[in-house]
Symmetry: C2
């Protein structure tokens, strides 16, 4: 089995292509062409055989915006679909500084040692701009990134949140078909990425820290009520008492929250990613939730709702794209926004006029 790092280099090449055209004589060109020789069937066979290198290449196809790549990618996804679904999918969010990378390193290592096959994915639409993206730097997950049972993949970097999330959703299908039975989807707590992640995972974990006083500054409202569980990280050293007190506070707060759709009452656990304490408690919370929802039928219900959600979401995105990517509409929208802000035109008439113009343009 190839080392997964290969895949990372390849991904880097592809990202650069979008920005600068490659020179005609390029040392990577042959490398790239060689990988492209695979047919959809060969990708599927490789994935089904658990070949992490081929899986990585297939994910790169999924992430590609080239129509020719997308044709193959969709064939591969379709063929993998019947072999997908057999995993625990967990979303993990938390502000920068909550220790997501070290937590995932600790949890992932724990799971791999137990024999799990673990894929770590991410949704971070800002990754291209901000550079310092989550999971962008695998060196932060030293041990895990070299484990044979782990597949770590940074966030797809191109396009809108919808596009990024869709690619992550498709990557889950491929990973599951390759035998990965645990999928972690990491997000930064900025709001919309969490909604997207929430629509593709079974369990949603909020990672909190305490002790800075500013622990919640970066996270958006609404995310706490989305969580199926909270883990108070960095419960070590001088911070143990504070972390335990925070656990009590969060438990009391969650008791005031409306019940979850699943009927599950979210837990709060403390853990330390550096001392490896409480990591198994957090994982037990996740497996307890899975058992609970599988028993009451919510697990399957949620997965079917999610599958339908993605059909509708894709339709919505395509319909909106066809409108907003129209050049004339793009030109007009700032003018209409300004007239609305000046109270010269109502939001509804502005919308109506833009839609009429769009209809005329298409004829």
């Amino acid at each position: 089995m190839d080392h997964p790092e290969n895949d990372s280099e390849y991904k880097g090449l592809q990202v650069n292509e979008g920005v600068l055209p490659l020179p005609s004589v390029n040392p990577y060109a042959t490398f790239r062409r060689k990988k492209r020789l695979l047919s959809a069937e060969e990708y599927v066979a490789g994935i089904r055989g658990g070949d992490i290198s081929i899986l990585g290449q297939a994910v790169t196809l999924v992430e590609s915006s080239l129509p020719s790549d997308q044709v193959i990618a969709q064939k591969v996804i379709e063929a993998c679909l019947p072999f997908s679904g057999n995993s625990i999918r967990a979303g993990i969010t938390g502000v920068p500084g909550a220790g997501k990378s070290t937590f995932i390193e600790a949890l992932g290592t724990h799971l791999c040692k137990q024999g799990s096959k673990l894929a770590v994915l991410a949704i971070d639409p800002s990754s291209e701009r901000s550079k310092g993206s989550i999971l962008g730097d695998k060196t932060r997950m030293n041990e895990l990134s070299t484990a044979a049972n782990a597949f770590i993949r940074p966030s797809p970097s191109a396009g809108s949140l919808g596009g990024v999330a869709r690619k992550t959703r498709e990557t889950i299908v491929l990973c599951e078909a390759a035998g990965f039975n645990t999928i972690l989807v990491e997000t930064v707590g900025v709001g919309q990425s969490e909604t997207a992640a929430h629509s593709m995972v079974d369990f949603f974990l909020l990672l909190q820290v305490t002790g800075t006083g500013d622990e919640l500054q970066g996270i958006k409202r609404g995310i706490m009520e989305m969580a199926d569980g909270i883990a108070i990280n960095k419960c070590d050293g001088n911070n143990i008492e504070r972390a335990r007190a925070a656990r009590v506070s969060f438990k009391n707060a969650l008791a005031l929250f409306p019940p979850t759709e699943s009927g599950w009452k979210p837990y709060v656990e403390t853990c330390s990613s550096v001392e490896y304490t409480g990591i198994d408690d957090v994982w037990k919370m996740i497996t307890d939730y899975i058992a609970f929802t599988q028993k009451n039928g919510y697990f399957d219900y949620k997965r079917s709702q999610q599958a339908k959600y993605w059909m509708y979401e894709t339709i919505h995105q395509s319909l909106l794209d066809s409108f907003y990517h129209n050049e004339e509409i793009e030109r007009l929208i700032p003018q209409y926004e300004q007239r609305i802000l000046n109270n010269e035109i109502s939001s509804f008439i502005a919308a109506h006029e833009l839609l009429e113009k769009f209809k005329d343009l298409k004829i």
Copy 2:
């Protein structure tokens, strides 16, 4: 000034029309025709003059789905727009049983006595089905519904949430142009109505009760984090101690929440709508918030964001409607949903195929 009850009768008539055609000889027909004789200019003049009867008729036009009514309605809204905006807009939500009607009765009477002109509107997309809709029965607001300074209007009953919310948003413009300086928008705590209300109000109040143990059963998650303030209602009789304890719990819980976008720290107050205690504290919380956000610029920022939001929201809704109201698409969607649930097709390919079919149908 006509009594606002006139308007209610007229509305009732229009709703019935949708269900049963009126007999050709109908005692209301002349009444109806007479009202229709008004031109857009006359509606605007009546509204600007503070004529509540004409305001009510104009709102009925806004709520009408007849294209000819909509042409006039949009003209009226456009003409009223420059005179709108000068009010406090507050959303109020809470489960059935939280005492929203009596709370609004108490708060409204308090405000009217202080000289405010108060409009009470509602967003409840379920109102047509469930009949027992919020604000549907004005007798629950005895005192307020006869106050000269109050305009009470049940939720528009027709159509989707988007349609209902849009009509409420447009009604706000008319009410403000008629001189109403306080707008309350009532919703039931089912989630999406609150998001819609949130997109048109300055302040969002969550009304809670305590003492039943099941107080949160009806409300959706996410609403608590949307609230700019919480009022614990029914703080009277045997319930005072419990209400005060709940206040402390909610205050502690809110302290753990991420900061609001406005920088405002949500308050928790207790009140009794039947004993008229704490009502002024709740109102002070709202005016404190308005003063705070006007000072830091968030008030104007949010209003402009909301105005733009409604343009985009209307565009989105129209684009989606054109797709989903297509007969062939309506026929195909259940089949595709089933194939997705059977894992026969990916959500993305299903979406793609439906979009292709839609494109073919339009040519």
